[in-house]
């Protein structure tokens, strides 16, 4: 079924689907925030969802996505107009009108910001994104991988601060993070301004509609086997193992400079049965590495996630507890990420784990 528009009713479904691609980051409820987005859609009507190829090659697109923490988002939900301010500021800087909105990453809360922005601006949303999952840095995108510049970009803070930034990728990330902290904890950004022609080799197609499809499955699932089979069909997911959480820790260190805004975490799942294998999951705010009996079984940028076996819901790192019965899933990401350049940008080594990605081992 082709999805052509997104309505207010689709928002909870989209959020549920986007949750799966967070690699177990941030499973907290964002009710106030969701209500604000739904209100924007009700006020402005449904957002048309278009394929990249349906737009003329010279149409200008900008990526919408927020950076910042979940806690500030809960404390101060957006009013929905932040995207308008950001896009208008960027249009002014670029000297031309934006024709369509694309997602920075259609995972977690960032799946719905572009929808709200498109609704408020009266623009279509392009069914694609630049990550296919959650990654902690704004410069870890397939857009950047394909050579698109991140700027000029515009950021809008909670208090209506508008910031226009034109710098190199790495300096943009540093400056944005400093500004985000000063602005109150999060910033909505309009970045990676690019024509459709430039986006074609860079974007991951069908990201939003895939999140919607998976979200529909997760919100209606009542049979574990069927859900796992469905996820395999749609996402190519694989169950690494099933068992009980037997250890939670924070002892992991990584090499290299600490560029990530998060704390290392370690989760150990003991497989069922006396001879069960040991699945050790390492992460920051999201799961990054799965080591089974000492052998690397899966690693970022592929999505690792925990699924509650009884409630059939994604288990976040905040809510996982000892004794939790979980399935450990790995969802492969686009082959773009599995290229040497892709793995250099978002593979395990980029996160300080000096191991080869399983795809490299195969090569």
């Amino acid at each position: 079924m082709t999805i052509t528009q997104i309505t207010a009713e689709d928002i909870p479904v989209l959020l549920a689907g986007a949750q799966l691609l967070c690699s177990s980051a941030g499973s907290i409820a964002l009710d106030g925030y969701r209500t604000a987005i739904e209100e924007v859609l009700r006020r402005n009507g449904p957002v048309p969802l278009v394929a990249l190829d349906d737009l003329p090659p010279d149409a200008l697109c900008v990526s919408i996505g927020a950076l910042g923490g979940f806690a500030p988002m809960i404390e101060l939900p957006p009013n929905g107009d932040e995207g308008v301010l950001a896009v208008r500021a960027l249009e002014e800087r670029l000297g031309r009108k934006v024709d369509a909105i694309v997602s920075l990453n259609s995972a977690g809360p960032n799946a719905v910001f572009p929808v709200a922005s498109a609704a408020a601006l009266g623009l279509p949303l392009v069914d694609c994104d630049g990550m296919g999952r959650v990654l902690p840095l704004m410069i870890q995108t397939t857009y950047a991988l394909a050579g698109l510049p991140i700027g000029p970009l515009a950021g809008v803070g909670l208090a209506g601060d508008v910031l226009v930034l034109d710098s190199s990728e790495h300096r943009s990330e540093l400056l944005l993070r400093a500004a985000m902290k000063a602005a109150g904890g999060w910033l909505l950004c309009a970045s990676y301004p690019a024509t459709v022609a430039a986006l074609r080799p860079a974007a991951l197609r069908g990201a939003t509609s895939r999140a919607l499809t998976v979200g529909r499955m997760l919100t209606t699932a009542d049979d574990r086997e069927a859900l796992l089979a469905g996820l395999t069909r749609i996402m190519g997911s694989r169950v690494l193992g099933s068992g009980r959480v037997i250890e939670l820790g924070h002892a992991t260190r990584t090499v290299g400079p600490r560029i990530y805004p998060s704390v290392p975490t370690s989760i150990v799942v003991g497989e069922y049965g006396s001879a069960g294998r040991l699945i050790r999951l390492e992460g920051h705010s999201e799961l990054l590495l799965a080591v089974i009996d000492g052998a690397v079984a899966a690693a970022v940028p592929d999505v690792l996630c925990l699924l509650d076996r009884h409630e059939l819901k994604v288990v976040g790192m905040e809510s996982v507890g000892l004794g939790h019965h979980v399935d450990v899933l790995v969802l492969p990401v686009s082959p773009m990420w599995h290229t040497p350049a892709g793995l250099a940008m978002a593979g395990p080594r980029a996160f300080g784990f000096p191991v080869r990605h399983p795809r490299e081992e195969e090569a």
């Binding site: 250890e247 290392p264 050790r280």
Partner: protein, 493 residues
């Protein structure tokens, strides 16, 4: 010892017990017998791929980032057949990691300073002779500090890696150590004979080695030899203690039975003897004629008795050992069964028989029961006696058993020489005994012998013809005893 031989590599266990790993925290320590051929200090996990098999892999730097890295290293070490893995103490080894190490059978050590440990390991494996000499010296020191055979054999079992040891008697009884050592067969076995305190062969130290190499065998043999003298010394102590105690109890019992007073009774109660109630005495006696004094067997007999009957006293007396039960529901029959089972099953230094008295109340009754038990034991020790005799079954017949039968028989052969020299001496002797048993009644004697009365009368005539007068009262008792002695004596008439 050949000095030209190249010593075999040390095992992980050797490095652990007396080498640079002595202070390390140990996980998955079931498989420590593998030899360590090299040391590899690894800063990147990938470097483990290049390690030689049987290496001790030491992690530091980026290879020791956390539990996941340690588990990855365990896995790689397993793939490379490494001897063991060393990790820095910054990594907290939790249960799952320890379990993985156990499952992969890769010994895991946590050390404070990996680089320093790597250096020390390298030094140790390059000078194995010095390391083994240190082990030997350490064992020698510990032997001197241990007082019992069990502790001395224990030193070998805990300190010498990959070796299980037992102290075994010639008949296979394990005196100390791990009996598994004695079950091993074949070449992985080192034996050293251990003399007793008297210098005669007493037992054997048997060691089973998990790893086999000539220099290692030599080391183990040296350590076993070092254990011999301390073991002999412990045996001396162990043998003296029961002998000393037995001598004390012997004196106490003698006083109690011959001149009891309040002090003696209190002393007896203090050593745990029961003096009130219904007593049944048991007397153990060497079966038939055991050469030499029975007292040398006292420690063995007492130890065996305690194994069967716990704290029930067993006190040496002349020619045997005495005990008594108090308030036993089954009476002498029950005790006879238990003592019989004990004599049949226990590891006794000499064959024993037992006599059991009739129940008697308090100290006077005990004194009587003891006398009865001694008499019954005398019967039991005679040829043809049961291993356990109850005085209650024997009655006054027990008196006969106490007679010096051989002496009487020898005298009888002189006094009754005519009868004994008769061609039909045996027939006449049997007939004479039957007639005396039946108080001279020829009819009853004929019935008992299964012959006609006239036959008895005929034999009586022939007996009289040999100068024997049955009717003389002053001769009859002596004659009766002489007949029994002749029939009971071992030597043919």
């Amino acid at each position: 010892m050949s000095r030209s031989r190249v010593p075999e590599p040390l095992s992980v266990a050797e490095l652990l017990h007396f080498g640079p790993l002595a202070k390390a925290q140990v996980f998955a320590a079931d498989d420590l017998d593998r030899q360590v051929a090299a040391v590899a200090l690894v800063a990147e996990l990938d470097q483990i791929h290049q390690c030689e098999p049987h290496s001790a892999v030491v992690l530091h730097g980026a290879a020791a980032l956390g539990a996941w890295a340690l588990e990855s290293a365990l896995r790689l070490a397993w793939e490379r057949n490494a001897a063991c893995l060393l990790a820095p103490a910054e990594i907290t080894v939790t249960t799952p990691t320890a379990q993985l190490a156990e499952r992969l059978r890769v010994p895991l050590f946590v050390v404070a300073d990996p680089a320093r440990s790597a250096l020390e390991l390298a030094a140790a494996i390059s000078d194995t002779e010095a390391a083994r000499a240190r082990l030997t010296a350490r064992c020698a020191v510990l032997f001197g500090e241990r007082a019992t055979a069990r502790d001395i054999v224990g030193v070998i079992n805990t300190e010498v890696p990959g070796v299980i040891t037992a102290l075994v008697t010639d008949d296979g009884h394990v005196l100390a150590g791990r009996s598994a050592a004695d079950r091993s067969q074949g070449s992985h076995r080192v034996e050293v004979a251990v003399p007793g305190p008297d210098g005669r062969p007493w037992a054997t130290l048997v060691a089973q080695l998990a790893a086999w190499s000539p220099s290692w065998v030599e080391t183990v043999r040296t350590i076993l030899r070092l254990a011999r003298a301390p073991l002999a010394a412990t045996v001396g102590r162990a043998w003296l203690t029961p002998v000393f105690q037995a001598a004390k109890e012997k004196l106490l019992l003698h006083t109690l039975l011959t001149a009891p007073d309040a002090t003696v009774e209190r002393q007896a109660r203090d050593v745990g003897w029961r003096l009130d109630g219904e007593h049944i005495a048991v007397f153990l006696k060497p079966s038939e004629r055991v050469p030499g004094p029975a007292e040398v067997a006292t420690p063995g007999v007492v130890v065996a008795w305690r194994e069967s009957f716990g704290d029930l006293p067993l006190i040496p007396r002349e020619d045997g050992w005495l005990s008594w039960w108090t308030a036993v529901p089954g009476g002498p029959a029950e005790i006879a069964t238990r003592v019989h089972d004990h004599l049949a099953a226990a590891a006794l230094p000499i064959p024993l028989v037992a006599g059991i008295g009739v129940p008697g109340k308090d100290l006077p009754g005990l004194t009587r029961s003891i006398s009865e038990a001694i008499l019954a034991a005398a019967v039991a020790s005679r040829p043809g006696g049961n291993p356990v005799e109850q005085f209650g079954d024997l009655g006054p017949r027990a008196v006969l058993a106490c007679l010096p039968v051989d002496d009487i028989a020898a005298a009888a052969r002189v006094a009754l020489v005519d009868l004994i020299n008769a061609p039909d001496a045996e027939v006449l002797l049997t007939a004479l005994t039957a007639l005396l048993d039946c108080a001279g009644s020829t009819g009853q004697a004929a019935t008992r012998l299964g012959v006609h009365r006239n036959t008895v009368l005929g034999r009586l005539e022939r007996i009289r013809a040999r100068g024997i007068d049955l009717d003389s009262p002053d001769q009859r008792l002596a004659l009766h005893l002489a007949c029994y002695a002749l029939l009971s004596a071992d030597t043919p008439t």
